[in-house]
């Protein structure tokens, strides 16, 4: 068989673009995902720069201006204490977004290694870990979070910890399931037949292949965290009044739904926007991580085969 002539390259040495870098190049092609990313970035930015952006102090009470509809003065109206809804929205984003992101981070750091270990090693380790997960899953999630916060004391950090602890087992169970399926793939045996050790198998073969469902699950975890924080704050755990948080403000606004719907619509809209953005991003991320889903131009490789 004739040896193929290597095409002389324009750059000095042969290069492989890393799989992750190729994935990163794919992501911007997903329009909805980019939109989600931009929205979320804007939300984060306004929350971070709240001190400069917010027109009013979010906890400043002004009873003379209570329940005012949106106007040039108060873009999104005022609440029952005459506080500026827009300012509370911007400050509330700090709480809600950090709860969402930290819970996602916590669930990932706890749940993914547990699930991978359980799925990869199987046997006794799997049994032990999954019974532990089962124990967590027997409680209604919100009740468990309430119990944990009750134990640790009502404080936003404890809320994050509790929500993370509630979400991690769900993720662990899901990762374990996917890992079990991928572990049996021929390419895992093939990699072992070429000398790959457990570390390599788990990180570059198993983890990369179970990433798609993980990403999707994490977007759900984020949404659940934002909403759960709202519930916990409503119940008196978590964010303490008068500190703003989307969930808290939403709960409070329910009482004024008839007279001041803007009070309700603003935080609800923010939560919706945020969760939607994350979901879109999740979609894009999932596709970017799976080369088979790439919408490539007709490449050289395809033309040949």
């Amino acid at each position: 068989m004739a040896l193929a002539q290597s095409p002389s390259s324009d750059d000095a040495g042969p290069r492989i673009t890393g799989s992750l870098r190729l994935a990163a190049r794919q992501f911007p092609r997903h329009r909805a995902a980019m939109l989600g990313l931009i929205c979320l970035a804007l939300l984060c930015l306004t929350a971070a720069l709240a001190t400069w952006i917010a027109p009013y102090d979010p906890v400043q009470i002004k009873l003379s201006a209570k329940l005012k509809p949106p106007s040039l003065e108060h873009w999104m109206g005022t609440d029952h204490f005459g506080r500026d809804v827009f300012s509370r929205l911007i400050y509330g984003g700090r709480t809600s977004l950090s709860v969402g992101l930290l819970v996602v981070g916590f669930a990932f750091v706890m749940g993914v290694p547990l699930g991978l270990a359980s799925g990869y090693f199987g046997g006794r380790i799997d049994n032990l870990l999954m019974r532990l997960v089962d124990a967590f899953l027997t409680f209604p999630p919100l009740l468990l979070a309430v119990a944990l916060v009750g134990l640790l004391g009502p404080d936003i950090q404890n809320v994050m910890l509790a929500l993370g602890l509630v979400q991690a087992p769900v993720l662990a169970r899901m990762v374990r399931g996917s890992t079990l399926a991928v572990r049996e793939e021929v390419y895992v045996t093939a990699a072992r037949a070429l000398g790959a050790g457990p570390g390599r198998i788990v990180l570059s073969h198993l983890l990369r292949n179970v990433m798609s469902p993980i990403v999707v699950q994490l977007t759900i975890v984020f949404a659940a965290a934002v909403v759960s924080e709202a519930s916990l704050s409503f119940l008196g755990f978590g964010t303490q009044p008068p500190q703003p948080s989307w969930g808290r403000d939403m709960s409070e606004a329910r009482r004024f739904l008839g007279e001041a719907p803007w009070m309700f619509l603003a935080p609800t809209g923010a939560i919706m926007l945020c969760v939607l953005s994350i979901n879109f991003m999740g979609d894009g991320l999932r596709d970017a991580l799976d080369p088979r889903a790439w919408r490539t131009r007709r490449t050289v490789s395809q033309a040949e085969s």
Partner: protein
């Protein structure tokens, strides 16, 4: 001394119904540069034999024992898992049946190839990439440099098997095990892959164990054949000997069930009736007896012992099948 010596290999798998004797007393030697065929139907223990040699049988539920199993003097059974990993891919390598599934779909070809080179040859990134390009060219993949950035799904089945061969041979192993490596490919591609393996292993003096249920493929490639049935080798011999003088009832039946395309044989194909035996219960007599068409009285009286039929040609069969 042979490169690979396997003596009395037994591999069992624990199940709820009892131990499955997947491989039961397999012995053979493989010389440097020799190409050995391992033939038999599904469940005859070919793949398990290969996985046992590679130390890839999961234990538990598997259990691998042997009186001896050495590769170039290294006792394969005594290796720790870490030592076995060092040897896999560098001194012995294996390619699998389904090229569509033996490459990781989310990693580039380049990444998967350089992974092996970096691990065993301790090459740096750039050196590993150069070597990967050379290897792809050696196995006949055009525009190798660009193909490193491709993903498995952008390759056809034949191309993927070429990549697998390139990966398996990348660290110059002494032993290559090909488990039904061409079964999933169409016939023209199959011939190309066989030629490729033949050329590359001959150039490098690599010993090959070629597992197949296709006698035609084995005939074109191998120096010697072991015919396996129910976890044992029932006949072994040089390729010509064995084809001209099949001396076991099972080998004979296998040949009767293989299609010939040269028109020399216009009889109907004769499938082998019945099913292979349950491997949980011990098999006291010849395992092929219930399906055998040439059995004699002795078959029903005592277990067969290997009989010599020529130089290096033996079969565990009582029947006289001389043409």
């Amino acid at each position: 001394m042979p490169l690979l010596r396997v003596h009395n290999l037994r591999t069992r798998f624990a199940t709820d119904l009892g131990a499955v004797r997947a491989v039961e007393g397999v012995s053979f030697d493989l010389e440097e540069g020799e190409v050995l065929g391992l033939v038999g139907e599904s469940g005859s223990g070919k793949s398990v034999t290969a996985l046992s040699i590679m130390r890839l049988v999961p234990e538990p539920p598997g259990k691998v024992t042997a009186d001896a199993m050495t590769l170039a003097g290294t006792d394969l059974l005594r290796l720790s898992e870490a030592e076995a990993r060092e040897i896999r891919g560098s001194r012995m390598a294996m390619i699998f049946q389904d090229p569509m599934r033996s490459l990781n779909p989310v990693l580039t070809i380049g990444r998967q190839m350089t992974e092996v080179l970096r691990r065993h040859q301790k090459l740096g990134g750039a050196a590993a990439r150069r070597r990967a390009i050379e290897l792809l060219e050696t196995v006949g993949i055009p525009m190798a440099e660009r193909r490193l950035r491709s993903y498995p799904h952008q390759f056809s089945g034949g191309m993927r098997q070429r990549v697998m061969i390139a990966m398996a041979l990348s660290c110059n192993p002494r032993l290559l095990i090909a488990d039904e490596a061409t079964t999933a490919l169409d016939v023209t591609i199959q011939a190309q892959i066989i030629d490729l393996v033949k050329r590359l292993t001959r150039e490098r003096g690599t010993s090959v164990i070629w597992i197949s249920h296709d006698l035609g493929v084995v005939a074109g490639l191998c120096d010697r054949v072991n015919v396996m049935y129910a976890g044992t080798i029932v006949e072994s011999g040089p390729i010509r000997e064995l084809f001209h003088r099949p001396s076991h009832g099972y080998t004979l039946a296998l040949m009767g069930s293989a299609a010939r395309v040269d028109g020399s044989d216009v009889r109907r194909l004769s499938p082998i009736e019945g099913v292979p035996p349950n491997l949980i219960d011990p098999i006291p007599l010849c395992p092929f007896l219930p399906r055998c068409r040439v059995s004699v009285a002795a078959c029903r009286a005592r277990p067969p012992v290997p009989r010599q039929f020529g130089a290096g040609h033996w079969a565990s069969c009582f029947a006289d099948l001389a043409p």
